[in-house]
Chain length 471, copies 2
């Protein structure tokens, strides 16, 4: 980490812990210089970085102040699903939305991916070339599940840095996190079984349940702190589920982040019922705060937490390398991988092992987080300016999605269709629910470079929503 980045992280931590309060003046550049012995340019760079993230703001001829992060809008209310299990049948709706959203010329607010321009594709390409030059031909056979040994070692090292003990042996390399999640699900649930999910929940989770013939019970979820444990306890009693699938950090679509003590309580609650937790953690590295959020797996004493993640959202989209650390189910998942698709692609595995070994991953992640935080701030301000009164939205501490609840009376599916006619894609709320709830909600992606087109697109969406309310 460079000096200015370290300084920025330190100040961000002080803001997060409320040591520095909203509106408070930051030490001047001269003060920092004298007290810390750093150069003025280091301080300026740190302040610019924090300003780009929206954490501090400059006032002309006065200096830098902690941003007034009064919420730009109230956050949406926690969901209150009816707690009845549902045979999942949402795929057709999801596909029609996804197909419409893949047109490159559209403003990509409905996309599931951040901009590919944010990733070090050139460096990854060079890493792949270097690794393939040195390839041991026999590795093409030996790198069957659980996967390339060096890559698994690198992943295990990162778990250790995050305070979680995961042996390299426990890690099964998969064809992206989606395959990891599917395999974990199949390892513990069978057709007709029930699985608890968040409300709203990621549509791919619903599609996976649908494909395997599982029933979904959506559990009340708070837009800032994730699944509500009281509602979870009731669902555990009532439905005797075989698994619980939760995105514990920066949930898709809400952006909710379960606090560490709540994660611990979650793991303990599920352990009392002996129910496995499938912890979908693909956004965990995209935090805007000072530290990576804790993993629920950290609190796992019984091997019941199946932690799944990938490099697709934070480093190498398209390389299709994910993994599962499935606790006591590791061998079962490994064998399912073998009978489902044999192994993950060797060139991708080797390229990532090489890249991680070179040591630039954390620097890339810091840049990526900074870019996403800045783009989030800009999208929030634009929504606050252009959307109709009564609009609520989340203010996630990481990831690249905002969850927007428009006033009752706005139909997101209609809005989705009208927006497409204006060259704007959005992800309408009903695709995030087996019951097609959240009819007035949108998930908006701020993972792309913010420009005047984006500002105009938000204005158009706001106008379309107003038109509906007046029509």
């Amino acid at each position: 980490m460079k000096l200015y980045e370290a300084l920025a992280e330190e100040i961000a931590g002080m803001i997060a812990k409320n040591v520095l309060r909203p509106g408070e003046r930051l030490p001047s550049v001269r003060q920092q210089q004298e007290r810390r012995g750093v150069s003025p340019s280091t301080v300026f760079q740190a302040y610019y970085l924090l300003e780009a993230r929206g954490a501090i703001e400059s006032r002309p001829r006065s200096g830098y102040y902690v941003a007034q992060r009064q919420p730009l809008a109230p956050e949406p209310e926690a969901s209150r699903p009816d707690g009845v299990s549902t045979v999942v049948d949402v795929s057709e709706l999801v596909f029609s939305v996804l197909d419409a959203g893949r047109e490159r010329s559209n403003v990509p607010f409905g996309s599931a991916f951040p901009s590919p321009l944010l990733f070090p594709l050139e460096k990854l390409g060079r890493a792949a070339a270097a690794a393939l030059r040195r390839i041991d031909p026999w590795s093409t056979v030996a790198d069957l599940p659980p996967g390339n040994a060096e890559l698994r070692r690198q992943i295990a090292l990162r778990y250790q840095l995050d305070g979680v003990q995961v042996a390299a042996d426990e890690i099964v390399i998969t064809n992206g996190a989606l395959e990891a999640l599917n395999l974990c699900l199949q390892a513990v649930a069978h057709p007709g079984d029930t699985v608890l999910v968040e409300s709203p929940t990621f549509y791919a989770a619903l599609q996976a349940l649908e494909r395997i013939g599982l029933k979904a019970v959506e559990v009340a979820t708070h837009p800032r702190e994730g699944m509500e444990l009281g509602a979870l306890a009731e669902a555990l009693e009532q439905h005797k589920p075989q698994a619980c699938w939760i995105m514990t950090s920066f949930q898709n679509p809400l952006g909710s982040l379960m606090p560490p003590e709540k994660k611990q309580a979650l793991v303990e609650l599920l352990a009392r019922y002996d129910v496995p937790l499938i912890e979908d953690d693909v956004y965990g590295e995209l935090y805007f705060g000072a530290q990576r959020p804790a993993l629920a797996k950290r609190y796992d004493g019984k091997g019941l937490v199946m932690h799944c993640s990938s490099f697709s959202k934070c480093l190498a989209p398209g390389f299709r390398v994910g993994w599962a650390a499935p606790g006591r189910f590791a061998r079962h998942v490994e064998r399912l991988k073998l009978t489902t698709s044999l192994a993950a692609a060797m060139p991708s595995q080797l390229a990532l092992a090489e890249y991680l070994g070179q040591g630039g991953y954390d620097r890339h992640l810091r840049q990526l987080r900074g870019a996403l935080a800045g783009q989030q701030e800009k999208m929030m301000q634009a929504i606050a300016r252009h959307f109709p009164p009564g609009t609520r939205f989340t203010q996630p501490q990481g990831g690249y999605f905002l969850w927007v609840a428009l006033p009752e009376g706005v139909d997101a599916l209609v809005l989705h269709r009208c927006a497409l006619a204006h060259g704007i894609s959005v992800a309408p709320g009903p695709i995030f629910s087996a019951k097609r709830a959240f009819r007035n909600c949108l998930r908006l992606n701020y993972g792309h470079h913010w420009d005047a087109d984006h500002e105009a697109a938000i204005a158009t969406l706001g106008q379309l929503a107003r038109d509906q309310l007046q029509g």
Copy 2:
């Protein structure tokens, strides 16, 4: 194709069509030179190539003769399964055999893969590097199912050369053929349904059925000509299956090759019952004759044939790029791919598209076929020398597996364990049957460079079998 290769292919074709008969003398080098206007070295190279393949043999001071391909042993009899459906539960046995066979120091007769040294890994590495240097970042998002457009175009071109009309649009790129087969199976069959398979059949087919909760009906299969259509017709009447999964060319484990007219009759028979054919064709390119065997898909008039293949056995093991051409089920398979593992790895797809575009694939295939044919001949001769009287084996026209039926009284599972103690892996017959039949059979892999250790290993296997018969 080089001149000597073209000449060798031409002669091989004449042998295959019986224009040149076993034991017949080939034209002398001088004759070829005069009649064809080619150089002596071209003729010598062609003859050396054919000799390496076991197609011709030199007799000192006499010239070259078409090899006496009297069978070295009688072929095994066609299987006679009982036609009762079976809930599949074979995975544990398969895994214990596979785990034992992955030890690199063992003689790899039990391996499912040919030697990785037979593949142009360096050239593929350079192709990957070149493709990744030119990558369009947006392709990392756009290359979702059905996959990279250029790669699909290249595959469609090869279909056309084989006389089959497959649009690039029909092709879904998958994570190896195994995923393609799994997705095709899931597109047409649901838990509790029945699927017809060969007897013996590839264990991964049995594992796929087991994982999805399908019932297998094993249908009588001839060791040279594949599934028997009379038995198939009975099974169609009796079991009302949802699909039929057949390896039409160089079946694993038998090596059987269904003749073209039988493939046509197969497709017509299944069409009368409206039953989809999952055509597993991963070995089709590894033919020793003059021409690629016909695809059953060639005779498909109703879109019922789901053709699956990959580059894993003939070009790029470990790249995990396969595909399905699923006829009328194409969109369904594409969507299943999206919900199962999203997409195939982009670096592998780009590398293969680049390699295929460069045009060296057919030359590589010719070399590979020559090497496999030569190794097959050597293994057959060694078995004929060392195995006990009464041993039968197949003489496949392609692929890299021999199916050996030892005399009744030899237990292949015992032989497998004893062989491992001698550092030799074999694939015992019972892993190729949901009923654990074929107790006296072995599948032996000749896909590795033949040497004295291999000769000695065959002798050891022969001795172990004799010990069992005498014990």
